[in-house]
């Protein structure tokens, strides 16, 4: 099948490096354009909400960031598992590259969640089920980063990280469920960040555009980071020195 052949074609770190170099500029531009469009629509086009005023507009960053944080965790676990199961070098490098970006989005989601909560609830933090789950997700990311960093042997670090990420993925739904349970049980009526206002079409478009912008950004950053990891791990390989010479020429 042509598609699977092409997939494995780029499984070599060398070829991926070239691919990433070619695509990077376009990805950065795409991310910038989409983000600008999303912010414009979100801040200028979307209507003011009846109950929350203009404070709600932070959700145009908060919700996409939260989505990204969760999706990236799963992507990280998936690539790490592939790298482990198939002994694929590049897949493991991908997973390592995704982790910091995923953690960043988690942090962004928490930060913007706090910014949202402040005008609405009067405090910087509420133990809302979603926010609390995001916080625990941040712990999972930090745990992964700490583990792979602490193990000196690259291969062992990749594998241990893969196992941890897979275990984490299995736990994420359990954790989310238990936090929701905890939240409703203890408060009677659940404490939630104000539920998102009824969505006008422009709001949906803004969130969608921001999500796509984040995707493009994530690709760009992960590609760059993977290139750095490839350069470091394959530093003795012949193809790397030639490429570097061409780049600086």
């Amino acid at each position: 099948m042509p598609s699977s052949i092409r997939f494995f074609h780029f499984a070599s770190p060398a070829r991926f490096y070239a691919l990433a170099t070619r695509w990077s500029p376009a990805l950065w531009v795409l991310a910038a354009v989409l983000a600008a469009a999303a912010l414009y629509i979100g801040f200028f086009v979307a209507p003011t909400d009846a109950t929350q005023g203009d404070a709600y507009r932070i959700i145009f960053i908060h919700v996409p960031a939260a989505w990204m944080s969760m999706v990236l965790y799963l992507a990280m676990a998936l690539w790490a598992a592939i790298g482990w199961a198939l002994n694929a070098r590049l897949a493991s490098m991908f997973a390592r590259a995704i982790a910091p970006t995923g953690a960043m989005f988690t942090f962004l989601a928490l930060w913007t969640g706090a910014l949202w909560g402040r005008p609405t609830w009067g405090t910087w933090w509420v133990w809302d089920a979603r926010l609390t789950s995001e916080l625990i997700l941040l712990f999972l990311y930090l745990g992964y980063l700490a583990l792979v960093d602490a193990i000196d042997d690259t291969r062992r670090a990749d594998r241990a990280g893969a196992l941890l990420a897979v275990v984490g993925s299995v736990n994420v739904p359990i954790i989310y469920f238990s936090v929701k349970w905890w939240n409703t049980l203890h408060q009677g009526a659940s404490i939630t960040l104000s539920s998102a206002p009824t969505m006008a079409q422009s709001m949906l478009i803004a969130m969608l555009l921001m999500t796509l912008a984040f995707w493009a950004y994530a690709f760009a950053v992960v590609f760059k980071r993977t290139q750095a990891i490839v350069a470091e791990r394959e530093r003795h390989a012949q193809w790397l020195t030639t490429t570097r010479k061409l780049e600086t020429a």
């Binding site: 000196d152 042997d153 690259t154 291969r155």
Partner: protein
């Protein structure tokens, strides 16, 4: 004469498995320590794996024992199934708080050796630890601890392949002679062994494999 729970077996009926190693490559961490390594060990053969420090002898033994996967190459045992290998690492695998007797019993049960109390007592006696059999391991000297670890050789299946990492380490002259005798007996009943040692062993009919004569990786 070694007495084991297996009794006296007809030496010709059972023999150790033959080990064939083909193009083996081994790594530790990031480094490939050796590659293109071939080895053939027939029943009754005692092979001395000889190399300077850091060439990967321990890694090789671990791979052959099954603790680690090789980077490349194949390992074939014929017949495919048979008595498990006896791997004695450089470390003794003894717990400080157990007595000699408890340690030997634990080893025996863990590896399914089903050694009788009499066989265990014999092994302890043979290694000269009779008087210390109720002493905790932490009160023993390095040499005595090594002896405790080596008792496994008396209790294992006579046809198992022995993979020994520095078996003579820390032993006094008597201990050294004892291990050499055990190896001779092992070969006589068609068992085979692969071991490392920094001191040339005093064993007849030894086959030496010079490990560090391998070409450096490209």
């Amino acid at each position: 004469m070694a007495t084991t729970s297996h009794g006296d077996l007809d030496a010709g009926a059972r023999a150790s498995r033959t080990l064939t190693v083909d193009g083996l490559a081994g790594r530790r961490g990031e480094r490939i320590l050796f590659h293109d390594f071939d080895l053939f060990v027939a029943p009754g053969e005692l092979v001395w794996l000889r190399a300077a420090n850091g060439y990967g002898k321990t890694t090789l033994l671990r791979i052959l024992a099954g603790l680690a996967l090789p980077e490349a190459g194949t390992i074939r045992w014929s017949p495919a199934s048979g008595p498990a290998t006896v791997y004695l690492a450089h470390a003794n695998a003894l717990k400080d708080d157990l007595t000699v007797l408890e340690s030997v019993r634990y080893q025996s049960t863990l590896h399914g050796l089903e050694a009788s109390e009499a066989a265990i007592a014999d092994a302890i006696r043979r290694f000269g630890l009779q008087s210390r059999r109720h002493a905790p391991i932490r009160t023993l000297s390095q040499g005595q601890r090594r002896r405790v670890a080596l008792t496994r050789l008396c209790l294992s299946d006579p046809q198992s392949t022995w993979l020994l990492d520095e078996p003579w380490d820390a032993l006094d002259a008597e201990g050294v002679a004892l291990v050499s005798t055990l190896l001779d007996e092992h070969a006589a009943r068609r068992g085979n062994a692969l071991f490392t040692s920094h001191v040339p062993p005093a064993i007849d009919g030894l086959r030496t494999v010079q490990f560090d004569a391998l070409p450096a990786p490209a």
